[in-house]
């Protein structure tokens, strides 16, 4: 019998208990022993839950029980979850989590703590929900230098952008609908401002950099709240969608990670991710492109990834497996985002002259957009990689009333 505990009995925590119950026999057959939730630590009571009798408020029933060898942390946030994760790891218990905030903020310390106590800190469910991405990136693509990761990693913003694109809803209406359907929280800031995507790309970037820690709070990040129905009109005319992309690049031009809305051609495989779906494209120097697609969130999908991690931990427990080893690098892992090369769709009032654009963006390739809305001028800047964020910022200073700037993928 393999005993585990669940910390935090919210949506995902509850899903973990349910997936284990649902697939009890398969799991036991695979592990060669039963997998059993022994305790659920939460300060709330759940009288109607079939797992009610497992719920406890007493930490020591988890951390001091030598029978519990694996602990699932589904508390969320980086305060209580941080404290409890440290307690569990210090007691030599492997911790499995879906908590991207905690992994992206304190991953280095927690993995080193796990290492010191011969256990593991694993987090497949922290990015892409149920989609296998962390382990494939770390293990299947191990032979590759990862040159690029481009992901639609936040279902809430993708749902809002899909609604805006398909139904012509404006941002506020689409957000409200997402909230009604439970796809967006009442305080949606972490999603719509790109914070969630920032944390996820920081995790993926750190893995791609072989564990050299990428701090999410330092990543250039643009959310989606400025996207308008007019932007969607341009996207349609350009045969593209607007997607919030989380990007990591590690090529000849430098190493960058950032989050921003982009125009993505409808012909690109990433365009298949609509609504709450996620898709992550990874480019390896041997592999070329591979894409992972699926439900990036949701109770059972996320729980499926957590339970996959639990089973992996259970199967490898007798071994001293330090799966992930993150570290603080001596030198900066990323180059300054100002140097990152981009191309953008730029919308101006049509009073702006071509000369004014040439003056503002000297020596930068500029072509008219295939579409211009009434009363507007629209150009695509920087097709040849001659535009970077610094030049874009300086150039934009010369215009009082730029309508919008959207990056092109």
């Amino acid at each position: 019998m393999k005993y585990i505990a669940i910390l935090g009995f919210g949506v995902v925590g509850c899903g973990v208990a349910e997936v284990i119950a649902m697939n009890e026999d398969r799991i036991a057959k695979r592990l060669g022993e039963d997998l059993k939730v022994k305790k659920i630590l939460d300060i709330r009571e759940f009288p109607d839950s079939p797992f009610a009798d497992l719920v406890t408020t007493k930490q020591e029933e988890v951390f001091e029980d030598p029978e519990i060898s694996i602990v699932v942390e589904t508390i969320g946030g980086a305060r209580v979850a941080y404290e409890y994760t440290k307690k569990a790891l210090s007691a030599g218990k492997t911790v499995v989590t879906s908590n991207k905030e905690l992994v992206s903020t304190h991953g280095v310390e927690l993995m080193q703590l796990a290492h010191a106590h011969d256990c593991n800190y694993i987090f497949e469910a922290s990015v892409g929900g149920g989609i296998p991405i962390i382990r494939p990136l770390h293990r299947c693509l191990a032979a590759n230098k990862i040159e690029r990761i481009v992901g639609i990693v936040n279902g809430t913003t993708n749902y809002i952008l899909t609604q805006m694109g398909e139904n012509g809803s404006d941002f506020d209406a689409a957000l409200k609908e997402a909230q009604t359907k439970g796809y967006a929280e009442q305080n949606p800031s972490a999603d719509i401002d790109g914070i969630d995507a920032q944390r996820k790309i920081a995790i993926l970037s750190t893995i791609a950099m072989d564990g050299a820690y990428v701090d999410p709070t330092r990543l250039f990040t643009v959310g989606i709240s400025a996207i308008t129905t007019k932007d969607m009109e341009y996207a349609r005319e350009m045969n593209a969608y607007i997607k919030l992309l989380a990007v990591f690049e590690n090529g000849e031009d430098g190493t960058y990670a950032y989050v921003a809305p982009h125009l993505v051609s409808k012909d690109h495989p990433l365009a298949c991710a609509n609504g709450v779906f996620n898709a992550i494209m990874v480019t390896g120097n041997a592999l070329g492109d591979a894409m992972f697609y699926g439900q990036g969130a949701g109770k059972m999908a996320t729980a499926s990834a957590v339970v996959g991690d639990i089973m992996d931990a259970a199967e490898h427990q007798s071994r001293n497996a330090h799966v992930y080893e993150w570290f603080e690098s001596d030198k900066p892992v990323l180059d300054p985002i100002e140097e990152h090369r981009i191309s953008v769709l730029l919308r101006f009032p049509d009073s702006v002259t071509d000369d004014a654009i040439s003056e503002a963006f000297p020596e930068i390739s500029c072509q008219p957009c295939v579409y211009e809305a009434e009363g507007e001028k629209a150009v695509i800047l920087g097709k040849d990689g001659d535009l970077n964020e610094a030049k874009l910022a300086v150039g934009l200073e010369n215009f009082e009333n730029v309508i919008s700037v959207i990056r092109i993928f």
Copy 2:
């Protein structure tokens, strides 16, 4: 220093040596030691290869060298490769392969042999080329009952079908072009008759059935050589592509695996796989749908997966890891394909009457197709799951000149 040997220095074998050389430093850093190709076993000489001095014709230099702990089998086929794989495993050497024929034919015996000699037989590259699919299916989705796998797993046929759909080429012209470009072999039978896809879905099905062996040679398989430009016309009008799908289903209606051309809606995520690209959609009972997309073949992509396996084997060598354990099941793993429920597009000459169709397919839902080519009658049969292969076969006997039958996904 970790020493490996490569058996068979063809395209993939050469790619393996190249990927190891290309990413030497990364690999060494990850493994904590250098990874070195010590011998390459081949009967040919490669005087112009940078690896020429490693090539030997002497088996004993591989199988009797205790320093060589991992052997890459990239010979292909199931004769010499079979014999050498058994020798390597019997000597306690882990074997890494991309050989779908051998894995799907002798996988049970070879994994049991590996087990008996405390080593592994691993084969990530045997399906999907460089796309991580075997390990994610086995490991990340371990908590799920796998309910369905639907894959475009053969690049050659997908290239031919894409050309036929986009350029209006007929089958022979598209095949010829594929041969010219090196995407199809001079004897293309294994690809176009669906044998390659059959082997791959047998491997995936066995993993999905927790190791209960699925014999590829017993799978219902339809290739693509009967697909015409007229079929493509129907596909276009139905907003669909024709794709050769390898299918595994394990649901309430039974357990099936088969290969056949299908109409796939352009709105379905699988439709993003055009040309030589592969895409595999997996449905788990907790996860829901996840899709894996990428280059399903090619020297460096496939080699990338092989080297990923080598690194995994090297990292886990001190442990007694029986990664895959296949077995012959006492009872049939699959249900008879005759019971499998499908819906199909059926094309007749327009002389066929509605009554004749109703008589031939009694009690089966039937609706006119949105499109009918001149002189033809086209219907969609079996929308409600009331059609199965047996009924389809019996019904078709009543018509002398059915033009074509294409399954609808």
